[in-house]
């Protein structure tokens, strides 16, 4: 044994893990009916992984909730069901299609229509229907400017809205989850992680990931400078048809198939990805076309309850 154990130092990944587990346990303890929002993306996968550690050897004391736009990459759903089975969690699915059928939302029209914005309504409806008072999300502060000031325990009013000016201060590791009836919280245990931390953790823990994260040849086209996968849910504009091609790509985030951009990449393993992330010159959300609508797009969506 080297002397290291005597100095009681732990590496930063262990510190982040320990902090996230603390937050997950606080959430279970402070709320009556928490839920973990599971998108099938790597951050929510890491969250569910940490939740399993936090409550081991007991099962997760909350379900995984997936808001399904219906416009998924097929791999996402296969992965989701396998993963849920592996960690023996309960899964609750909220369908955007259902919100559309019930007339709760209007589907965007035109070739650039996306269900991304509609998710918010389905999410809030699902939260209300099941009475979830805290939703755990995989959001990280390094993702986007508006998230740099997000709290671990983020208070939402009875309309699900986030008021950046009315957030509770968080000191030390004391979190105030007290609330009035009808209000709820979003909780972000990975707040202090960076994209690199998440990848290093996935590697260290050998967490299985959806194949979308790894490079493969796909049918793609270009829209507004973003590489999108050709799917049944997207109608290409005539000028976009000209950009249709086969390309070796991978995805850096996994969301709605209509607006999640791919990056040109040959990264086929976790190590390749880590190397790529280390050399990357674009932030992760740089590939999300929904953020490009305006400079403060993210802040606007968050105020309306977007995760």
């Amino acid at each position: 044994m080297e002397q290291k154990s005597k100095s009681y130092q732990v590496n930063h990944l262990k510190q982040l893990e320990s902090e996230a587990i603390y937050i997950l346990r606080e959430t279970a303890a402070q709320f009556e009916k928490p839920a973990l929002l599971f998108s099938g993306g790597k951050d929510s996968i890491v969250m569910a992984w940490l939740a399993r550690k936090a409550f081991y050897p007991a099962k997760l004391p909350f379900p995984l909730v997936h808001v399904d736009t219906g416009h998924n990459f097929p791999e996402t759903i296969t992965y989701r069901d396998d993963f849920v089975e592996q960690i023996k969690a309960n899964l609750v699915v909220g369908l955007v299609q259902e919100s559309i059928d019930q007339g709760r939302v209007q589907e965007e029209k035109g070739p650039k229509a996306s269900r991304n914005a509609l998710q918010t309504v389905t999410l809030l409806d699902t939260i209300e229907k099941h009475g979830y008072d805290a939703c755990l999300g995989g959001g990280r502060r390094d993702e986007e400017k508006a998230r740099a000031k997000e709290r671990f325990f983020s208070h939402r009013d009875e309309f699900g809205q986030w008021d950046p000016k009315n957030q509770r201060p968080e000191l030390w590791n004391i979190f105030n989850g007290r609330k009035q009836h009808g209000e709820h919280f979003r909780v972000f245990p990975l707040s202090n992680w960076t994209e690199m931390d998440v990848w290093q953790y996935i590697k260290a823990e050998e967490i299985p990931l959806p194949s979308l994260y790894f490079a493969s040849e796909r049918d793609v086209f270009t829209r507004d400078g973003v590489i999108l996968s050709q799917t049944d849910f997207i109608t290409m504009l005539p000028e976009e048809e000209a950009t249709a091609r086969k390309e070796v790509v991978r995805f850096r985030t996994i969301g709605d198939a209509t607006c999640t951009g791919a990056v040109l990449s040959n990264a086929a393993t976790i190590d390749d990805i880590i190397e790529e992330v280390a050399a990357a010159r674009q932030t992760e959300r740089g590939t999300r076309s929904d953020d490009k609508r305006s400079e403060t797009a993210m802040e606007d969506r968050k105020k309306q309850g977007y995760f």
Binding site: Y8, N11, L13, R25, Y56, A58, K149, L171, N176
Partner: protein, 424 residues
């Protein structure tokens, strides 16, 4: 540290910066990120575009750190923003806070999790009220390492004389700061990049480290308490499955000291003693647990334990009392503290009712003078109070343990966090 392990050997340094609009704090952070190549192309492009639109002469590195729209419009930072960057040696978390007196609560928040504070002094202005305030907050929140960056050296002709004068001024004041263990002075120009990441070519007379070198190498290991064993119980794990039929584990994050299987422990408030049976994690049982690890402990005897209880060692117990003396910082804009107020107090994993018994004094945080004639606490006021709680707290002094010595006060009607407290 061995080269091969790389990323897994990196440790974490949390630091805070306080500064106001014109002392170059945002520029300094922008400079740290930019010169250490922690800025992405699209972020830089966005900043270049905004700089041009505003008619700024240089690429305005300050724009990298100003997030919310209100701030972008007013050109000020109004909250605590957390930023992340890494070098091959360390990962850094910056709590970036505004510096004006009306944002004292933000500075206190940012300081609460930091191991190191950077305080900026404008070389032209020297030590001013704001410098003293920032240093006082760092000391109050027990930040043991303070770095004084004497900024804008380019505007005083890189003068060593001026720099020495400022150091002398600060040292005179710093003798009154209790908790600060180490003060480091560095002459810099955030705008030009001198001594931030790269060594200055304009100040040959300065032989010390650059800011980045210091951040990468400063030893912050002993900040955590590894002497007084404290384990606030956060959650009781009872799988109630066939495989784990009688398992009853206590989950929490070690707040101090070291726990090992076989250790004698005492459970508070009941006072029952037993031994640690095992320390569990998903990967298997471990030999010892210490701060900041989150673990699950099982005990040899069945004792009724719930969230908010604390496991400690029989020969080294925290104080178990209902009367608490503390320094507080008032956080609420709407509510004021006027004497015998009833509030909710949250300490470790415990929540109790508390009544303010006495307001001892307030502190003028610019001069450190006591204020005894106006005892009403409004937003940003700092001072000393005494509290009585509805049931005993298990605590240490804040100067001994940041986790078991800190609390927040909550308004029981609005649920707003109205104050942060440090137990004396």
């Amino acid at each position: 540290m061995s080269e091969e392990r790389g990323y897994l050997d990196m440790d974490l340094l949390r630091f805070t910066t306080a500064g106001s609009v014109d002392d170059g704090k945002s520029t300094l952070i922008g400079r740290l990120l930019y010169d250490s190549k922690n800025i992405f192309e699209d972020q830089l492009e966005a900043v270049e575009t905004s700089s041009k639109a505003r008619g700024d002469e240089h690429v305005n590195l300050a724009l990298l750190t100003d997030g919310l729209r209100a701030e972008r419009e007013q050109g000020i930072t109004i909250d605590v923003a957390y930023r992340y960057f890494a070098t091959p040696k360390r990962k850094f978390i910056i709590a970036d806070t505004p510096g004006h007196i009306q944002y004292t609560r933000n500075m206190v928040t940012g300081a609460s999790t930091a191991n190191l504070a950077i305080i900026l002094i404008d070389a032209r202005k020297g030590v001013i009220e704001q410098t003293c305030r920032h240093a006082f907050i760092a000391s109050l929140l027990r930040i043991q390492h303070v770095v004084i960056c004497v900024n804008k050296m380019d505007l005083v002709d890189w003068s060593q004389e001026r720099y020495d004068e400022i150091i002398a001024e600060f040292k005179q004041f710093a003798s009154r700061l209790d908790n600060v263990v180490e003060v480091t002075f560095i002459p810099i120009s955030a705008l030009e990049g001198d001594n931030v990441v790269d060594k200055s070519k304009n100040m040959d007379w300065y032989q010390g480290p650059t800011l980045m070198y210091h951040l990468e190498n400063v030893y912050v290991g002993p900040d955590a308490n590894h002497i007084d064993a404290r384990f606030p119980v956060q959650w009781v794990i009872r799988p109630m499955s066939n495989e784990w039929h009688d398992f009853r584990g206590y989950a929490g994050r070690v707040a101090g000291g070291v726990f090992k299987p076989g250790d004698d422990v005492v459970v508070l408030p009941s006072g029952f003693t037993t031994k640690v049976k095992a320390i569990h994690t998903l990967e298997g049982e471990i030999e010892e647990a210490f701060n900041p690890l989150s673990v699950t402990m099982t005990l040899e005897d069945e004792i009724d334990i719930s969230r908010g209880d604390m496991i400690a060692k029989p020969n080294n117990q925290p104080k178990v009392e209902q009367d608490v003396e503390a320094m507080i910082c008032w956080f609420s804009e709407k509510k004021k503290l006027k004497g015998r107020e009833k509030l909710i107090l949250r300490h470790t994993t415990k929540e109790v009712k508390a009544i303010v018994k006495d307001v001892r004094y307030k502190v003028n945080i610019n001069t450190l003078h006591k204020i005894e004639d106006d005892l009403e606490f409004g937003l940003n006021d700092i001072g000393r109070i005494s509290l009585r709680t509805s049931s005993p707290l298990f605590f240490d002094s804040y100067s001994r343990n940041r986790q078991t010595g800190s609390f927040v006060l909550i308004d029981e009607f609005t649920n707003e966090t109205v104050a942060a407290g440090m137990i004396i």
